[in-house]
């Protein structure tokens, strides 16, 4: 039986008996997962490849719906409603729960337009409001100083680390409640990685963060809570420090000491 701690803070998301089955698969890829996600904290998901951590992350903004035939069961509660309901407005949900991907995904447009993209989707047309909010988002993403003089340039001219911060700026510009990070530094060099990690920690004042990482040190450095997953199950969820120093489950201990992975 998994050992899941109770958290003191308010919950941003509450996962209950959640199961996820990919199209055509016989067995669910995620099995009976129950976990709280603390508000204004960072929750890291770790585990060997194929353990389901990314699958779980992509359930929070219903990304799986882009590919028909996948099945959700159970409940993910967000702001008092079950977001797995078929009535859930996915467009609305995705503006509330943003996502950052493994690789920087700068759109084929200017730096400014990239950050303004989500705002424009929401119907903001007023130029001064747009530029104010773009500036604020870029400042919050620690990118403003580097790009303020070339906002009209193609975003693909930026370095990898800058592009990833641009994607973060783009995601926070629409002021989401939750941000999902899917191995955000896996394509970056160590210095850019450091920058992103610092940024993630700063961001938790405003948003609740869930981060999937392949790197245990990263989880230890940035997160408040860590969940260890294995073969589609959540084995253990604890305070990051406790989980890494005194894991309650044998599997967790074997994983963090490098016995498998």
């Amino acid at each position: 039986m998994a050992s899941i701690i109770d958290i003191k803070e308010e919950c941003a998301l509450q996962v209950r008996d959640f199961e996820f089955t990919y199209k055509g698969a016989e067995a669910p890829s995620l099995k009976k997962i129950t976990m709280p996600i603390a508000k204004n904290s960072i929750t890291a998901l770790i585990g060997p490849s194929g353990c389901g951590k990314t699958t779980l992350l992509r359930s929070f903004n219903r990304m799986h719906d882009l590919y028909p035939g996948n099945v959700y069961n159970g409940e993910i509660e967000f702001e008092g409603r079950n977001i797995l309901s078929s009535k859930e407005d996915l467009i609305q949900l995705r503006t509330q729960i943003g996502m950052i991907f493994q690789k920087p995904t700068a759109f084929p447009m200017s730096i400014f337009d990239n950050v303004a993209y989500g705002l424009r989707l929401q119907g903001i047309k007023n130029k001064s409001e747009l530029s104010d909010r773009v500036e604020k988002a870029l400042k919050d993403a620690a990118l403003w100083k580097e790009v303020s003089d070339r906002l009209k340039n193609d975003a693909n001219g930026l370095s990898g680390g800058q592009q990833q911060r641009l994607c973060i700026a783009r995601a926070i510009a629409v002021e989401p409640e939750v941000l999902l990070f899917d191995e955000p530094t896996s394509a970056l060099d160590p210095i850019s990685t450091q920058g992103i990690e610092k940024l993630v920690i700063e961001l938790k004042e405003r948003v609740s963060i869930i981060i999937v990482t392949h790197n245990m040190q990263q989880a230890a450095r940035v997160s408040d809570y860590t969940g260890f997953m294995y073969l589609g199950e959540l084995i253990e969820l604890g305070n990051t420090e406790n989980l890494f120093v005194t894991p309650k489950e044998k599997l967790t201990q074997e994983y963090i000491t490098g016995k498998f992975g």
Binding site: I91, Q92, L121, Q122, G123, I124
Partner: protein
């Protein structure tokens, strides 16, 4: 109405329009396929394979001459296009590789693949038909062969490049000369791919009409004389279809059906060969 609602509505409109265009496209295509199958099947009978062309109004009228002529033309074109295409493709993949010359040849041959086939017909008319003084099966086969070369060249080049370099190195390490490595190892590794290329190449030239119009011309009677005009299914189909005689038009549809089935069969066979070699 909020901006999001507007976007949702715009999305619905676009998706509907795009589904509609798919329906329209499929509708036309099935209309044409339907006509081809209905008309072709109803015109099909044994006489077609037994008798040669006859003046309109004769019951004993068939397509034997065109079927045989088509087979001869395609066989000759294959004999011209396949060896040249494979050798040229071999040069690109095994010798030329990334040299400037190899890239130029690839580019030019790519353009040739989409160039108007009737122009090839005009060219062959000038260099074969005019000196000979008359239409001939040779001229038609050369025109089709020229069209075939770039298709075979491209697939051979692509397929040979898929053969792993380590396989070549292993053969070289045994002291084999390059031509032996290519013949014994590279060709063998790319066998299925090259065969598929050949089948698709034959299918492609099999449906060509324009380059035959003034090279092999046409003949309403059975012939195997390569120095003379040679009937083909496509040109026969064209001549019969624009004729005012209903029985000739019927034969035209029968020819269209037979030829389409042949080409479709080659396409399917080509894909099967590739699939089977991959599943191994």
């Amino acid at each position: 109405m909020t901006a999001t609602q507007k976007r949702v509505i715009a999305n619905r409109i676009v998706l509907t329009l795009s589904t509609l265009s798919a329906v329209i496209a499929l509708g036309f295509l099935f209309w044409i396929l339907g006509v081809l199958v209905m008309k072709g099947l109803s015109a099909l009978n044994w006489n077609i394979f037994i008798f040669e062309g006859a003046p309109p109004g004769y019951a004993e009228s068939g397509l034997r001459h065109a079927l045989v002529g088509q087979a001869i033309l395609i066989a000759m074109a294959t004999a011209i296009g396949v060896p040249l295409g494979i050798l040229a493709g071999t040069y690109l993949s095994e010798y030329g590789k990334n040299s400037k010359l190899a890239h130029t040849i690839r580019d030019i041959s790519d353009i040739m693949m989409s160039a108007p086939s009737i122009v090839i017909g005009a060219f062959v008319y000038a260099v074969v038909v005019m000196p000979m003084g008359h239409f001939s099966a040779w001229a038609g086969a050369i025109a089709l062969g020229i069209i075939m070369i770039p298709i075979i060249l491209r697939t051979t080049d692509d397929m040979l490049q898929l053969v792993p370099g380590t396989l070549r190195e292993a053969a070289f390490a045994l002291g084999a000369p390059k031509y032996k490595v290519i013949m014994d190892v590279v060709y063998r590794g790319a066998k299925a791919g090259i065969l598929t290329g050949i089948l698709l190449g034959i299918a492609r030239v099999g449906g060509e009409t324009a380059p035959l119009l003034f090279t092999s011309f046409n003949d309403n009677f059975f012939t195997t004389n390569l120095n003379d005009a040679m009937p083909s299914l496509t040109v026969t189909m064209f001549n019969y279809a624009i004729s005012p005689y209903e029985d000739w038009q019927q034969l035209g549809w029968a020819a269209a059906f037979i030829l389409s089935m042949f080409i479709l069969g080659l396409n399917i066979l080509g894909r099967l060969v590739l699939l089977m070699s991959r599943s191994k």
